[in-house]
């Protein structure tokens, strides 16, 4: 079995679990440098996605699952992260729309399109202390791994690892996008909640991929 629709469904289920498990942590991170709702927002979103998953037809492709995630997050999350994650999944889904199953190149295409979607909407660069600080290292590591011949699951694992490292790098940064940017130097020493949730979601992707 490859990274097919069953995997995509499994990823969504695992994402909902992970977000719920880390809800309080994400809220706390967001309270420190934002407005304390990031965990609440994502949890509301993924709970809604989960509820809609059963409505998908049996013949749905991975891209259809990802598109459902996109539209549901957009219409339920609100705040900054709703449209950003929504666009990420939407653009990523479009990049793999025709695939019945994702190979390493498709995974890279998905991640790249997702990251580009976030940048398109949010205009953040690496170093701005946003979720981009997790997404971009993940994309870079994934494409390097794919080029050296890794399979889809391994590419996701490398991406998750890079996203986690990327999230850690936000500790030292002053924010230049999002609410944390008003804090100036006071944001230093705190981890960006969106970067942390990005790493959690990619880790969920990798875990479900290696179990497939």
């Amino acid at each position: 079995m490859g990274l097919d629709t069953a995997w995509a469904r499994a990823w969504v289920s695992r994402s909902a679990e992970v977000v719920s498990e880390h809800k309080t942590e994400l809220i706390t991170l967001d309270r420190e440098i934002g407005d304390g709702d990031h965990g609440e927002n994502l949890d509301r979103g993924f709970t809604a996605v989960l509820a809609k998953l059963d409505d998908l037809p049996a013949e749905a492709r991975p891209g259809d699952v990802l598109k459902l995630v996109a539209t549901t997050l957009i219409s339920t999350v609100g705040g900054a992260s709703g449209p950003l994650y929504g666009t990420a999944y939407l653009k990523g889904a479009q990049a793999v729309a025709d695939a019945d199953s994702l190979d390493a190149d498709a995974v890279v295409a998905f991640l790249t399109a997702a990251r580009d979607g976030v940048v398109l909407r949010g205009k953040a660069e690496v170093g701005d202390k946003t979720m981009i600080d997790a997404w971009t290292p993940a994309v870079d590591a994934a494409s390097a791994a794919a080029q050296s011949g890794a399979g889809g699951a391994e590419v996701l694992s490398v991406a998750a690892e890079a996203a986690e490292r990327g999230a850690e790098t936000t500790d030292a940064l002053v924010a230049r996008k999002g609410r944390a940017s008003y804090l100036g130097e006071r944001a230093i020493g705190h981890r960006d909640p969106g970067a942390v949730s990005t790493a959690l979601l990619l880790r969920a992707a990798a875990d479900t991929a290696s179990a497939s």
């Binding site: 449209p83 230049r176 008003y182």
Partner: protein, 332 residues
């Protein structure tokens, strides 16, 4: 936390139900949640939609009515609404002349309104957006999410609303809204923090003798935290950056808005108004129009903001035009 609520998660829905019962001149859609003029869509008139997190009342729902907004979209407390209700409100008020979105400059609001605009566009409704960013407290806007939209939003909504009411087309209404935004500056101060119902604790804490200069309307940090000063000194401290920013100059005619953050008594707002008006007079600036009251609040925060809008003849006429909303009424 002492709040006059039932379940924190029901606050916005119950307040909407209250508005519906209190204001028969409004139409309330509960799901998706938005507030519209009873006579919307007004055929041939540009529709005006604003919205954002709740907790800033009367902004925006209190400003729906003839001469101002056609619809307001309330998100959860301090959280931007999603695109769905924004889209629904946009469709509900489109009278064929297109719709203007008036959006306060917060990443969440901007992105969700943007998405709604895209979706409306896909349905054949012309949408233009104006981003309000009047808060001069944010200094290095290149290195931040940019200046925030605060109480100047009320003046953008009032004046653009009058332009739409007199029959301006979408581009013209958008241009007027943009002109108001370009000529309005604000800055606020907090004496205490508000409490978001679902958070249950103050958004930030100030010591018994501390105030935050340049506070945002969600309690975002400002320029500095200082010891409490006499009202006149505080007014001087926040009026200066406003005047320097545009800059305003002698001979200008302005609207002066002294806006309460929710928990400051009106008698104190008038004390602040007095000083602000005096300082403007001394600078040769004429306070041609005045507003004093709670217009853009931050729940029960104690504090206030000053907003100064530089007028020209057209803006003055539009400001004076009749308005009939729950929170702002004159003329006719």
């Amino acid at each position: 936390m002492k709040k006059l609520i039932n379940d924190p998660k029901d606050v916005v829905a119950e307040a909407l139900a209250g508005m519906e019962l209190a204001h028969p001149e409004l139409v309330i859609s509960h799901d998706p949640a938005f507030i519209a003029r009873r006579d919307a869509p007004v055929q041939g008139k540009v529709g005006l939609v604003s919205g954002g997190g709740s907790g800033h009342e009367p902004l925006h729902g209190g400003f729906v009515g003839p001469g101002m907004l056609d619809a307001a979209v309330p998100g959860p407390v301090f959280t931007s609404p999603t695109p769905d209700p924004i889209l629904a409100a946009t469709k509900a008020v489109d009278g064929g002349a297109g719709v203007l979105h008036i959006v306060k400059n917060y990443t969440g609001d901007v992105l969700n309104f943007e998405t709604a605009a895209d979706l409306a566009d896909a349905e054949g409704i012309r949408v233009r957006s104006v981003i309000v960013n009047d808060d001069v407290a944010v200094k290095d806007s290149l290195y931040t999410a940019g200046r925030r939209g605060v109480a100047g939003t009320v003046l953008v909504e009032k004046i653009a609303g009058a332009a739409a009411e007199r029959g301006d087309d979408l581009d013209a209404v958008a241009a007027i809204a943009q002109r108001v935004n370009d000529n309005v500056r604000s800055m606020g101060v907090a004496l205490t923090s508000g409490i978001v119902p679902h958070a249950g604790e103050p958004s930030f804490t100030l010591a018994e003798d501390e105030i935050e200069i340049g506070i945002g309307i969600h309690g975002e940090p400002g320029r500095e935290r200082i010891s409490l000063e006499p009202a006149d000194a505080i007014v001087d401290r926040i009026l200066r950056p406003i005047l320097e920013d545009l800059p305003f100059s002698s001979g200008d005619q302005v609207v002066l808005l002294v806006n309460g953050m929710g928990g400051t008594p009106l008698v104190e707002l008038y004390v602040a108004f007095r000083r602000a008006a005096e300082v403007l007079q001394e600078a040769g600036i004429t306070v041609a129009r005045s507003l004093v009251g709670n217009y853009t609040t931050s729940l029960e925060m104690q504090g206030f903001s000053l907003t100064v809008l530089k007028l020209d003849d057209e803006l003055t006429a539009l400001y004076d035009a009749p308005v009939q909303t729950a929170a702002l009424r004159w003329g006719r």
